[in-house]
Protein backbone atom coordinates (compact mmCIF):
# COMPACT_ATOMS: atom_id res chain seq x y z
CA UNK A 1 0.00 0.00 0.00
CA UNK A 2 3.09 2.16 -0.10
CA UNK A 3 2.08 3.32 -3.59
CA UNK A 4 -1.12 4.92 -2.24
CA UNK A 5 0.88 7.25 0.03
CA UNK A 6 3.50 7.83 -2.67
CA UNK A 7 0.72 8.82 -5.09
CA UNK A 8 -1.75 10.73 -2.92
CA UNK A 9 1.06 12.33 -0.88
CA UNK A 10 2.46 14.22 -3.88
CA UNK A 11 1.58 17.80 -4.84
CA UNK A 12 -0.96 16.56 -7.40
CA UNK A 13 -2.22 13.77 -5.14
CA UNK A 14 -3.04 16.17 -2.30
CA UNK A 15 -4.85 18.41 -4.78
CA UNK A 16 -6.88 15.42 -5.93
CA UNK A 17 -7.90 14.73 -2.33
CA UNK A 18 -8.99 18.37 -2.01
CA UNK A 19 -10.90 18.19 -5.30
CA UNK A 20 -12.75 14.94 -4.62
CA UNK A 21 -13.73 15.92 -1.07
CA UNK A 22 -14.58 19.44 -2.28
CA UNK A 23 -16.85 18.03 -4.99
CA UNK A 24 -18.58 15.92 -2.33
CA UNK A 25 -19.14 19.03 -0.22
CA UNK A 26 -20.66 20.81 -3.23
CA UNK A 27 -23.10 17.91 -3.48
CA UNK A 28 -23.75 18.12 0.26
CA UNK A 29 -24.37 21.88 0.04
CA UNK A 30 -26.94 21.28 -2.72
CA UNK A 31 -28.76 18.59 -0.71
CA UNK A 32 -28.60 20.61 2.52
CA UNK A 33 -29.97 23.68 0.76
CA UNK A 34 -32.80 21.71 -0.88
CA UNK A 35 -33.80 20.38 2.56
CA UNK A 36 -33.54 23.77 4.24
CA UNK A 37 -35.82 25.37 1.64
CA UNK A 38 -38.69 23.57 3.43
CA UNK A 39 -38.23 26.29 6.09
CA UNK A 40 -40.06 28.62 3.69
CA UNK A 41 -43.04 26.22 3.95
CA UNK A 42 -43.37 26.96 7.65
CA UNK A 43 -42.95 25.00 10.89
CA UNK A 44 -44.86 21.89 9.80
CA UNK A 45 -43.05 21.48 6.50
CA UNK A 46 -39.62 21.84 8.14
CA UNK A 47 -40.38 19.57 11.11
CA UNK A 48 -41.78 16.96 8.77
CA UNK A 49 -38.62 17.15 6.59
CA UNK A 50 -36.48 16.69 9.71
CA UNK A 51 -38.61 13.75 10.85
CA UNK A 52 -38.34 12.09 7.42
CA UNK A 53 -34.59 12.60 7.39
CA UNK A 54 -34.18 11.10 10.84
CA UNK A 55 -36.41 8.16 9.96
CA UNK A 56 -33.50 6.98 7.80
CA UNK A 57 -31.96 5.82 11.10
CA UNK A 58 -28.62 4.04 10.67
CA UNK A 59 -28.35 5.25 7.06
CA UNK A 60 -28.17 8.82 8.33
CA UNK A 61 -25.46 7.87 10.84
CA UNK A 62 -23.43 6.29 8.04
CA UNK A 63 -23.87 9.45 5.92
CA UNK A 64 -22.79 11.61 8.87
CA UNK A 65 -19.69 9.51 9.48
CA UNK A 66 -18.92 9.66 5.77
CA UNK A 67 -19.17 13.45 5.83
CA UNK A 68 -16.95 13.55 8.92
CA UNK A 69 -14.32 11.45 7.11
CA UNK A 70 -14.43 13.75 4.05
CA UNK A 71 -14.23 16.73 6.39
CA UNK A 72 -11.14 15.40 8.17
CA UNK A 73 -9.40 14.66 4.84
CA UNK A 74 -10.26 18.12 3.44
CA UNK A 75 -9.17 20.00 6.55
CA UNK A 76 -5.96 18.06 7.23
CA UNK A 77 -4.87 18.10 3.56
CA UNK A 78 -5.75 21.78 3.28
CA UNK A 79 -3.68 22.57 6.35
CA UNK A 80 -0.70 20.59 5.03
CA UNK A 81 -0.94 22.39 1.66
CA UNK A 82 -1.16 25.78 3.37
CA UNK A 83 1.91 25.17 5.54
CA UNK A 84 3.95 23.63 2.69
CA UNK A 85 3.09 26.52 0.36
CA UNK A 86 4.07 29.03 3.02
CA UNK A 87 7.40 27.24 3.43
CA UNK A 88 8.01 27.11 -0.34
CA UNK A 89 8.80 30.85 -0.38
CA UNK A 90 10.74 31.70 2.80
CA UNK A 91 11.81 35.12 1.53
CA UNK A 92 8.74 37.12 0.41
CA UNK A 93 8.79 39.76 -2.33
CA UNK A 94 9.20 43.40 -1.29
CA UNK A 95 6.71 44.26 -4.04
CA UNK A 96 4.07 41.60 -4.72
CA UNK A 97 1.71 42.34 -7.56
CA UNK A 98 -0.85 40.13 -9.27
CA UNK A 99 -0.88 39.69 -13.04
CA UNK A 100 -4.63 39.23 -12.88
CA UNK A 101 -4.82 35.47 -12.30
CA UNK A 102 -5.84 35.52 -8.66
CA UNK A 103 -9.36 36.21 -7.53
CA UNK A 104 -10.82 37.13 -4.15
CA UNK A 105 -11.78 33.48 -3.76
CA UNK A 106 -8.42 31.95 -4.73
CA UNK A 107 -6.46 34.46 -2.67
CA UNK A 108 -8.41 33.79 0.53
CA UNK A 109 -8.93 30.02 0.17
CA UNK A 110 -7.06 28.89 3.35
CA UNK A 111 -8.57 31.70 5.43
CA UNK A 112 -12.17 31.23 4.29
CA UNK A 113 -11.56 27.52 4.85
CA UNK A 114 -10.47 28.15 8.45
CA UNK A 115 -13.53 30.35 9.07
CA UNK A 116 -15.85 27.69 7.63
CA UNK A 117 -14.19 25.13 9.91
CA UNK A 118 -15.02 27.27 12.98
CA UNK A 119 -18.51 27.96 11.64
CA UNK A 120 -19.30 24.25 11.14
CA UNK A 121 -18.38 23.49 14.77
CA UNK A 122 -20.54 26.41 15.94
CA UNK A 123 -23.38 25.38 13.61
CA UNK A 124 -23.36 21.78 14.88
CA UNK A 125 -23.40 23.02 18.51
CA UNK A 126 -26.42 25.15 17.64
CA UNK A 127 -28.59 22.68 15.80
CA UNK A 128 -27.10 19.18 15.99
CA UNK A 129 -25.71 18.60 19.49
CA UNK A 130 -28.68 20.23 21.12
CA UNK A 131 -31.47 18.90 23.33
CA UNK A 132 -34.36 18.24 20.93
CA UNK A 133 -36.65 16.49 23.42
CA UNK A 134 -38.41 19.63 24.60
CA UNK A 135 -38.66 21.68 21.41
CA UNK A 136 -39.18 21.00 17.70
CA UNK A 137 -36.25 21.68 15.39
CA UNK A 138 -38.18 24.57 13.86
CA UNK A 139 -38.60 26.18 17.30
CA UNK A 140 -34.86 25.83 17.93
CA UNK A 141 -34.02 27.41 14.56
CA UNK A 142 -36.56 30.22 15.05
CA UNK A 143 -35.23 30.83 18.57
CA UNK A 144 -31.65 31.10 17.31
CA UNK A 145 -32.42 33.53 14.49
CA UNK A 146 -34.60 35.72 16.72
CA UNK A 147 -31.23 36.94 18.01
CA UNK A 148 -29.89 39.54 15.53
CA UNK A 149 -26.26 38.71 16.44
CA UNK A 150 -26.79 35.06 15.51
CA UNK A 151 -28.57 36.12 12.35
CA UNK A 152 -25.69 38.40 11.29
CA UNK A 153 -23.18 35.67 12.12
CA UNK A 154 -24.94 33.08 9.98
CA UNK A 155 -25.33 35.48 7.04
CA UNK A 156 -21.63 36.40 7.24
CA UNK A 157 -20.70 32.72 7.34
CA UNK A 158 -22.73 32.10 4.19
CA UNK A 159 -20.91 34.91 2.36
CA UNK A 160 -17.63 33.27 3.39
CA UNK A 161 -18.85 29.89 2.09
CA UNK A 162 -19.87 31.52 -1.21
CA UNK A 163 -16.39 33.08 -1.60
CA UNK A 164 -14.76 29.69 -0.86
CA UNK A 165 -16.98 27.93 -3.40
CA UNK A 166 -16.40 30.63 -6.05
CA UNK A 167 -12.81 29.42 -6.42
CA UNK A 168 -13.27 25.83 -5.27
CA UNK A 169 -15.85 24.81 -7.86
CA UNK A 170 -13.97 25.50 -11.11
CA UNK A 171 -10.66 24.73 -9.42
CA UNK A 172 -11.72 21.18 -8.57
CA UNK A 173 -12.55 20.49 -12.23
CA UNK A 174 -9.13 21.81 -13.26
CA UNK A 175 -7.48 19.57 -10.65
CA UNK A 176 -9.42 16.53 -11.86
CA UNK A 177 -8.09 17.31 -15.33
CA UNK A 178 -11.45 18.45 -16.69
CA UNK A 179 -10.26 21.61 -18.44
CA UNK A 180 -11.66 21.53 -21.94
CA UNK A 181 -11.85 24.58 -24.23
CA UNK A 182 -15.53 23.82 -24.94
CA UNK A 183 -16.70 23.26 -21.36
CA UNK A 184 -14.37 25.27 -19.09
CA UNK A 185 -16.14 28.63 -19.70
CA UNK A 186 -19.44 26.97 -18.72
CA UNK A 187 -17.90 25.35 -15.63
CA UNK A 188 -16.57 28.75 -14.50
CA UNK A 189 -19.99 30.39 -14.91
CA UNK A 190 -21.67 27.43 -13.22
CA UNK A 191 -19.23 27.76 -10.30
CA UNK A 192 -20.05 31.45 -9.81
CA UNK A 193 -23.79 30.70 -10.10
CA UNK A 194 -23.47 27.87 -7.59
CA UNK A 195 -21.58 30.17 -5.19
CA UNK A 196 -24.35 32.74 -5.60
CA UNK A 197 -27.11 30.16 -5.06
CA UNK A 198 -25.36 28.84 -1.93
CA UNK A 199 -24.74 32.34 -0.53
CA UNK A 200 -28.19 33.73 -1.27
CA UNK A 201 -30.08 30.46 -0.71
CA UNK A 202 -28.65 29.82 2.77
CA UNK A 203 -28.13 33.50 3.58
CA UNK A 204 -31.79 34.44 3.28
CA UNK A 205 -33.00 31.69 5.59
CA UNK A 206 -31.94 33.46 8.82
CA UNK A 207 -33.54 36.67 7.55
CA UNK A 208 -36.80 34.95 6.66
CA UNK A 209 -36.97 32.91 9.86
CA UNK A 210 -35.92 35.92 11.96
CA UNK A 211 -38.76 37.97 10.50
CA UNK A 212 -41.42 35.41 11.39
Amino acid sequence: MDWVIRTLGTAVGKKLLMAVTGLSFCGFLGAHLAGNLTLYGGADAFNSYAAHLHSLGPLLTVAELGLLALFVVHVVTGLVLFLQNLKARPQRYAVDRSAGGRTLGSRTMPYTGALIFLFIIYHLMNFHFVDKSHATIFAIVAGTFANPVQMALYITAMVVVAVHVSHGFWSLFQTLGANHPKYMPAIKILGLLFALVVGVGFGFIPIYVGML
Partner: protein, 255 residues
Amino acid sequence: MTTKSIDITLKVWRQKGPGHKGRLETYRADNISTDMSFLEMLDVINEQLTLDGREPIAFDHDCREGICGQCGSVVNGRPHGPEQGTTLCQLHMRHFNSGDTLVIEPFRARAFKVVKDLAVDRSPLDKIIQAGGYVSVNTGGTPDANSIPISADIAEEAMDAAACIGCGACVAACPNASAMLFMSAKVSQLALLPQGRPEAAKRALAMVRQMDACGFGNCSNERECEAECPKQISITHIARLNREFIKAGIGSSVF
Protein backbone atom coordinates in the same frame (compact mmCIF):
# COMPACT_ATOMS: atom_id res chain seq x y z
CA MET B 1 14.69 59.47 -35.59
CA THR B 2 15.09 61.16 -32.26
CA THR B 3 15.71 59.04 -29.23
CA LYS B 4 13.78 59.73 -26.09
CA SER B 5 15.46 59.21 -22.78
CA ILE B 6 14.08 58.82 -19.26
CA ASP B 7 15.33 59.18 -15.71
CA ILE B 8 14.31 56.43 -13.31
CA THR B 9 15.14 55.18 -9.83
CA LEU B 10 16.09 51.54 -9.27
CA LYS B 11 15.83 49.59 -6.06
CA VAL B 12 17.86 46.47 -6.69
CA TRP B 13 18.24 43.39 -4.50
CA ARG B 14 21.91 43.04 -3.58
CA GLN B 15 23.10 39.83 -1.95
CA LYS B 16 26.74 38.72 -1.71
CA GLY B 17 26.06 34.98 -1.89
CA PRO B 18 23.67 32.12 -1.09
CA GLY B 19 24.15 32.28 2.67
CA HIS B 20 24.23 36.06 2.99
CA LYS B 21 21.50 38.42 3.99
CA GLY B 22 20.47 40.68 1.14
CA ARG B 23 18.86 44.09 0.94
CA LEU B 24 17.44 46.55 -1.57
CA GLU B 25 19.85 49.26 -2.69
CA THR B 26 18.83 52.42 -4.53
CA TYR B 27 20.48 53.57 -7.76
CA ARG B 28 19.75 56.49 -10.07
CA ALA B 29 19.42 55.59 -13.75
CA ASP B 30 19.53 58.88 -15.61
CA ASN B 31 19.39 59.52 -19.32
CA ILE B 32 18.27 55.99 -20.20
CA SER B 33 17.37 55.64 -23.88
CA THR B 34 13.87 54.24 -24.36
CA ASP B 35 15.27 52.09 -27.18
CA MET B 36 17.29 50.09 -24.68
CA SER B 37 16.15 46.72 -23.42
CA PHE B 38 15.83 46.26 -19.68
CA LEU B 39 19.08 44.30 -19.56
CA GLU B 40 20.92 46.96 -21.56
CA MET B 41 19.75 49.46 -18.97
CA LEU B 42 21.28 47.22 -16.27
CA ASP B 43 24.49 47.05 -18.37
CA VAL B 44 24.67 50.85 -18.31
CA ILE B 45 24.22 50.90 -14.53
CA ASN B 46 26.88 48.21 -14.15
CA GLU B 47 29.35 50.13 -16.30
CA GLN B 48 28.94 53.14 -14.04
CA LEU B 49 29.23 50.99 -10.91
CA THR B 50 32.44 49.44 -12.26
CA LEU B 51 33.92 52.88 -13.10
CA ASP B 52 33.05 53.99 -9.58
CA GLY B 53 34.94 50.98 -8.24
CA ARG B 54 31.77 49.34 -6.89
CA GLU B 55 30.51 45.80 -7.37
CA PRO B 56 28.31 45.50 -10.49
CA ILE B 57 24.85 43.92 -10.20
CA ALA B 58 24.90 40.21 -11.01
CA PHE B 59 21.97 39.13 -13.18
CA ASP B 60 21.20 36.12 -15.37
CA HIS B 61 21.21 36.57 -19.14
CA ASP B 62 22.40 34.82 -22.25
CA CYS B 63 20.80 35.01 -25.71
CA ARG B 64 18.94 38.30 -25.18
CA GLU B 65 16.54 37.17 -27.91
CA GLY B 66 13.83 35.81 -25.64
CA ILE B 67 14.45 32.15 -26.42
CA CYS B 68 17.06 30.81 -24.01
CA GLY B 69 15.20 31.17 -20.72
CA GLN B 70 18.24 32.41 -18.85
CA CYS B 71 17.16 35.96 -17.98
CA GLY B 72 14.40 36.96 -15.61
CA SER B 73 13.98 39.06 -12.54
CA VAL B 74 10.93 40.37 -10.76
CA VAL B 75 10.22 44.01 -11.65
CA ASN B 76 7.73 45.74 -9.37
CA GLY B 77 6.27 42.40 -8.35
CA ARG B 78 6.00 41.06 -11.90
CA PRO B 79 8.37 38.34 -13.22
CA HIS B 80 9.92 39.56 -16.52
CA GLY B 81 8.33 42.97 -15.91
CA PRO B 82 4.88 44.35 -16.64
CA GLU B 83 4.53 43.38 -20.34
CA GLN B 84 2.67 40.16 -21.18
CA GLY B 85 4.36 37.41 -23.17
CA THR B 86 7.79 39.02 -22.91
CA THR B 87 11.09 37.94 -21.38
CA LEU B 88 13.06 40.55 -19.46
CA CYS B 89 15.61 40.87 -22.28
CA GLN B 90 12.83 41.69 -24.74
CA LEU B 91 11.26 44.26 -22.45
CA HIS B 92 12.13 47.75 -23.63
CA MET B 93 12.54 50.88 -21.58
CA ARG B 94 9.87 52.66 -23.65
CA HIS B 95 7.31 50.90 -21.44
CA PHE B 96 8.47 52.99 -18.49
CA ASN B 97 8.12 56.69 -17.73
CA SER B 98 10.52 59.27 -16.39
CA GLY B 99 10.27 59.40 -12.61
CA ASP B 100 9.32 55.71 -12.24
CA THR B 101 10.76 53.72 -9.36
CA LEU B 102 11.48 50.10 -10.27
CA VAL B 103 12.01 47.48 -7.57
CA ILE B 104 14.08 44.62 -9.03
CA GLU B 105 14.19 41.35 -7.09
CA PRO B 106 15.36 37.83 -7.91
CA PHE B 107 12.89 35.00 -8.60
CA ARG B 108 11.96 33.90 -5.10
CA ALA B 109 11.36 30.29 -4.12
CA ARG B 110 12.86 27.92 -1.57
CA ALA B 111 13.89 25.72 -4.53
CA PHE B 112 15.72 28.61 -6.24
CA LYS B 113 18.77 29.62 -4.24
CA VAL B 114 20.08 33.13 -4.84
CA VAL B 115 23.59 32.78 -6.27
CA LYS B 116 24.31 36.51 -6.12
CA ASP B 117 22.13 39.62 -6.36
CA LEU B 118 19.53 38.81 -9.05
CA ALA B 119 21.14 35.58 -10.24
CA VAL B 120 19.35 32.44 -9.05
CA ASP B 121 20.10 28.73 -9.31
CA ARG B 122 17.28 27.16 -11.32
CA SER B 123 18.89 23.72 -11.60
CA PRO B 124 15.95 22.12 -9.72
CA LEU B 125 14.01 22.59 -12.99
CA ASP B 126 16.69 20.49 -14.73
CA LYS B 127 16.31 17.86 -12.02
CA ILE B 128 12.58 17.64 -12.81
CA ILE B 129 13.36 17.12 -16.51
CA GLN B 130 16.00 14.51 -15.66
CA ALA B 131 13.47 12.65 -13.50
CA GLY B 132 11.22 12.48 -16.57
CA GLY B 133 13.68 10.10 -18.20
CA TYR B 134 13.87 9.09 -21.83
CA VAL B 135 11.55 8.73 -24.81
CA SER B 136 11.68 5.51 -26.85
CA VAL B 137 12.77 6.12 -30.43
CA ASN B 138 13.28 3.20 -32.83
CA THR B 139 16.74 2.81 -34.28
CA GLY B 140 17.42 1.69 -37.84
CA GLY B 141 16.83 3.38 -41.13
CA THR B 142 15.22 6.75 -41.51
CA PRO B 143 11.46 6.24 -41.02
CA ASP B 144 9.10 7.22 -43.83
CA ALA B 145 7.61 10.67 -43.50
CA ASN B 146 4.11 10.64 -41.99
CA SER B 147 4.37 6.97 -41.07
CA ILE B 148 3.05 7.99 -37.63
CA PRO B 149 0.01 10.18 -38.34
CA ILE B 150 -0.32 13.15 -35.96
CA SER B 151 -3.07 15.68 -36.57
CA ALA B 152 -2.07 19.31 -37.03
CA ASP B 153 -4.08 20.33 -33.91
CA ILE B 154 -2.20 17.87 -31.69
CA ALA B 155 1.16 18.82 -33.21
CA GLU B 156 0.37 22.50 -32.59
CA GLU B 157 -0.64 21.86 -28.99
CA ALA B 158 2.51 19.83 -28.34
CA MET B 159 4.50 22.69 -29.86
CA ASP B 160 2.69 25.21 -27.59
CA ALA B 161 3.88 23.20 -24.60
CA ALA B 162 7.36 22.78 -26.06
CA ALA B 163 7.61 26.57 -26.31
CA CYS B 164 8.50 26.55 -22.58
CA ILE B 165 12.00 27.98 -22.21
CA GLY B 166 12.32 26.88 -18.58
CA CYS B 167 12.93 30.40 -17.27
CA GLY B 168 11.09 29.76 -13.99
CA ALA B 169 8.80 32.80 -14.18
CA CYS B 170 5.84 30.51 -13.38
CA VAL B 171 7.54 29.54 -10.11
CA ALA B 172 8.35 33.19 -9.37
CA ALA B 173 4.77 34.27 -10.11
CA CYS B 174 3.06 31.44 -8.24
CA PRO B 175 1.88 32.53 -4.76
CA ASN B 176 2.92 29.02 -3.65
CA ALA B 177 6.22 28.88 -5.59
CA SER B 178 4.99 25.81 -7.42
CA ALA B 179 6.61 24.55 -10.63
CA MET B 180 3.39 23.04 -11.97
CA LEU B 181 3.19 25.07 -15.19
CA PHE B 182 6.80 24.29 -16.07
CA MET B 183 6.36 20.59 -15.31
CA SER B 184 3.01 20.42 -17.10
CA ALA B 185 4.58 21.87 -20.26
CA LYS B 186 7.30 19.23 -20.17
CA VAL B 187 4.82 16.40 -19.50
CA SER B 188 2.32 17.73 -22.04
CA GLN B 189 4.69 18.04 -25.00
CA LEU B 190 5.52 14.34 -24.72
CA ALA B 191 2.11 13.07 -23.57
CA LEU B 192 0.46 14.52 -26.68
CA LEU B 193 2.71 12.66 -29.11
CA PRO B 194 2.75 8.91 -29.82
CA GLN B 195 6.53 8.78 -29.39
CA GLY B 196 6.17 9.75 -25.74
CA ARG B 197 3.35 7.36 -24.82
CA PRO B 198 5.26 4.22 -23.74
CA GLU B 199 6.93 6.03 -20.82
CA ALA B 200 4.03 8.39 -20.02
CA ALA B 201 2.99 6.83 -16.69
CA LYS B 202 6.53 6.51 -15.35
CA ARG B 203 7.34 10.04 -16.47
CA ALA B 204 4.32 11.75 -14.85
CA LEU B 205 4.85 10.07 -11.48
CA ALA B 206 8.62 10.58 -11.39
CA MET B 207 8.45 14.26 -12.35
CA VAL B 208 5.75 15.13 -9.80
CA ARG B 209 7.68 13.34 -7.06
CA GLN B 210 10.88 15.14 -8.07
CA MET B 211 9.11 18.51 -7.93
CA ASP B 212 8.10 17.77 -4.32
CA ALA B 213 11.63 16.64 -3.47
CA CYS B 214 13.07 19.91 -4.80
CA GLY B 215 10.96 21.89 -2.31
CA PHE B 216 8.56 23.58 -4.72
CA GLY B 217 5.07 24.43 -3.43
CA ASN B 218 1.73 22.95 -4.42
CA CYS B 219 -0.48 24.30 -7.20
CA SER B 220 -3.71 25.89 -6.00
CA ASN B 221 -4.99 27.07 -9.39
CA GLU B 222 -4.26 30.76 -8.78
CA ARG B 223 -3.52 31.20 -12.53
CA GLU B 224 -0.74 33.73 -11.94
CA CYS B 225 1.68 31.46 -13.85
CA GLU B 226 -0.12 31.53 -17.19
CA ALA B 227 -0.56 35.30 -16.87
CA GLU B 228 3.22 35.79 -16.39
CA CYS B 229 4.61 33.08 -18.68
CA PRO B 230 6.70 34.79 -21.40
CA LYS B 231 5.62 32.02 -23.78
CA GLN B 232 1.99 32.30 -22.63
CA ILE B 233 1.66 28.62 -21.85
CA SER B 234 -1.89 27.82 -20.75
CA ILE B 235 -2.94 26.04 -17.54
CA THR B 236 -4.84 23.57 -19.75
CA HIS B 237 -1.45 21.84 -19.79
CA ILE B 238 -1.66 21.58 -16.00
CA ALA B 239 -5.04 19.89 -16.42
CA ARG B 240 -3.40 17.46 -18.88
CA LEU B 241 -0.62 16.79 -16.35
CA ASN B 242 -3.33 16.10 -13.74
CA ARG B 243 -5.00 13.63 -16.13
CA GLU B 244 -1.65 11.98 -16.86
CA PHE B 245 -1.00 11.74 -13.12
CA ILE B 246 -4.41 10.17 -12.42
CA LYS B 247 -3.92 7.67 -15.26
CA ALA B 248 -0.40 6.86 -14.03
CA GLY B 249 -1.07 6.85 -10.30
CA ILE B 250 -4.37 4.98 -10.27
CA GLY B 251 -4.76 3.40 -13.70
CA SER B 252 -1.28 2.15 -14.57
CA SER B 253 0.82 -0.64 -13.08
CA VAL B 254 3.71 1.77 -12.42
CA PHE B 255 4.27 2.21 -8.66
